[in-house]
């Protein structure tokens, strides 16, 4: 209906037709707006700072944002199905210690990685179980889990950082400059496919969009939610392990609320709704990169961390407002 009324003859309406199409593209492809922001930032920092688009700096940026890009993928799946995991940053710190102590117990390091991921998954399962079967809001469950897992990490480590065990696998697992960003891109691509092209993805959207309706259609909503808690937690653990190989030390204070917050921020500025029922993995990945570029660009320009926080906070508020407005427009079928 709208397209028909817009396609009226005359020069003025042709111009507004193009505006309309552009607006429609931005609303329909939520990744588009954040991608445009990313490109503008790239160009701006390249102009303002001679060192920005150098190999060394690009690898810094990529290592910078990869952890929260990986975690964002898990958070996006959770946000879409109507949940959130605040404790994933603590799993980020915990998993490398599990890996280290499994290896120290005599198993090969590779087995340590697997055990660490399994333990991360079990933590996610426990959180999901409590959330789903006791009907506790995940905001509360994972707030509790945050403290609990941090306590586990401090107990296990005694509070001191240790050296990451050396292994030939290290290069693949975060040691090589670009390996983290490759993992992040790979995970984002796979999960984008899962979200758009599998039953799991469709049911995740359905559960967040209308929980009762999804259940009435025969979808096992508890299974979907718990599965996404497991996924998010495993990704948190995996990002933590990659980070441990990259910085070659395992730190009980790594990650934490900061990486979790940046992951959720990436999801939101990338176009995922905090209300559940819609979201995009690719948007979240680009959102994570934008936050990395901002942080790095500001550092190069000598702007301090406080200013960065102000800008990130403002960016999140602005995107939240536009997301809500776009959703309203879409529902009214105006665009």
């Amino acid at each position: 209906m709208t397209s028909r009324s817009a396609a009226q003859p005359g020069l003025a309406s042709t111009k507004s037709h193009w505006h309309h199409l552009l607006l429609r593209f931005i609303v329909r492809a939520p990744e588009a707006s954040i991608a445009v922001v990313g490109i503008i930032l790239l160009v701006a920092f390249e102009v303002l700072s001679p060192n920005f688009l150098t190999n060394a700096n690009l690898s810094t940026v990529s290592q910078f944002f990869s952890p929260w890009a990986i975690i964002a993928c898990g958070e996006i799946m959770l946000l879409i199905c109507g949940e959130v995991d605040l404790s994933v940053g603590q799993v980020f710190a915990f998993a490398p210690f599990v890996m280290h102590f499994t290896a120290a117990a005599g198993l090969p390091l590779f087995a340590g990685v697997i055990v660490a991921l399994l333990v991360s998954g079990l933590l996610g399962l426990a959180i999901g179980f409590i959330t789903v079967f006791f009907g506790v809001a995940s905001f509360i469950t994972t707030l509790g889990a945050m403290l609990l897992i941090n306590g586990l990490t401090l107990t296990l480590s005694g509070g001191f950082p240790i050296d990451t065990p050396s292994t030939p696998l290290a290069a693949i697992l975060g040691g090589w400059n670009y390996s983290e960003v490759f993992w992040a891109a790979f995970i984002a691509l796979v999960l984008h496919l899962v979200l758009r092209n599998t039953r799991w993805g469709l049911h995740t959207i359905a559960v967040g969009g209308n929980p009762t309706g999804a259940a009435e259609a025969g979808i096992h909503t508890a299974r979907i939610k718990m599965g996404n808690f497991v996924l998010c937690s495993v990704l948190g653990g995996f990002a933590g392990i990659l980070n441990a190989f990259h910085v070659t030390s395992i730190d009980p204070n790594a990650g934490g609320a900061n990486v979790m917050f940046l992951a959720i921020a990436s999801a939101v500025i990338g176009g995922t709704s905090l209300l559940g029922g819609s979201g995009t993995i690719l948007g979240g990945f680009i959102g994570a990169a934008v936050l990395g570029i901002l942080q790095d660009g500001f550092t190069l320009l000598g702007i301090n961390a406080f200013t960065f926080d102000i800008i990130t906070g403002a960016a999140i508020l602005i995107t939240m407002i536009t997301n809500v407005q776009f959703a309203k427009l879409r529902l009214r079928n105006r665009i």
Binding site: N197, L202, G209, G218
Partner: protein, 255 residues
């Protein structure tokens, strides 16, 4: 083939939620190709009865027979395996998903090949065909359901149930919250389905005249029990009003 003329029977169904007894000793029968209308106030227990017939809730006592065989419907999927489909009062639609995704929700078509990927093209085409088949008009199957009108959404929900080879179609207040023009379109749709004769239906509604018009038989549920049952041809709306008024007065005297 089954020669039993009754496709669905319920005997003395009761259901409690904790200490709330939602329905008590309700029995009903549904013959092949027949349409039964269920009337009753809000909170009478109509939706609860429907949800037992679809396997969403399990009855506390009483038994169900499908095609003459006793069954305990343990889940929505289980009821579906007998061709029982329901269009719930809240429609079980996902506003943020497209029409065609909603029509294939939890019944998705997958591509051939090693990976279990959705076949969007096939679902889109089949959704279009199914809507056309029963004469439902919407702008496009790619539109998000949230952007449709109440009547369009109801029509899509009915098309979804029909397209999934429903033998027994349960409609929970398909005319609620709808303007007269949209209601007329949905009634016409239901009548087309009835004329095809391959699906038996139970419809919950509030409008006595409309229900007597489309249903072969009607029953009245009040406070969780059945207070009237009869053929539409032998029942008048005035008679139904009378039953409601008498029950209301009786309860006022008691209370």
């Amino acid at each position: 083939m089954n020669t039993n003329p009754l496709t669905l029977e319920a005997h003395n169904i009761s259901k409690s939620f904790g200490n709330i007894q939602a329905i008590r000793d309700i029995s009903l029968t549904l013959a092949r190709g027949e349409m039964l209308g269920i009337l009753g106030d809000n909170g009478a227990g109509k939706s609860t009865l429907m949800k037992i017939l679809t396997g969403y809730h399990q009855q506390t006592s009483g038994e169900l027979l499908v095609n003459g065989t006793k069954v305990m419907l343990s889940s929505v999927d289980h009821a579906r395996s007998f061709g029982i489909e329901c269009v719930y009062q809240d429609l079980a639609m996902i506003n943020t998903l497209s029409v065609y995704h909603n029509m294939f929700l939890n019944r998705e078509i997958l591509r051939r090949g090693p990976l279990p990927l959705l076949d969007h093209r096939a679902m889109r085409k089949k959704a279009e065909a199914a809507l056309e088949d029963i004469g439902v008009n919407i702008p496009s199957v790619d539109v998000e359901v949230g952007a449709l009108s109440g009547g369009q959404r109801q029509a899509v929900a009915i098309a979804r149930a029909v397209a999934s080879q429903a033998k027994i179609l349960l409609l929970d207040e398909p005319l609620a919250a709808m303007g007269a023009r949209e209601a007329a379109l949905i009634i016409a749709l239901i009548e087309r389905l009835k004329a095809r004769g391959d699906v038996s239906m139970i419809m919950i509604a509030h409008n006595y005249a409309q229900t007597l018009d489309v249903a072969d038989r009607v029953m009245m549920i009040q406070r969780g029990t059945c207070t009237f049952e009869g053929r539409s041809a032998e029942t008048s709306a005035a008679e139904l009003f009378d039953i409601v008024r008498r029950e209301y007065q009786a309860n006022r005297v008691q209370g």
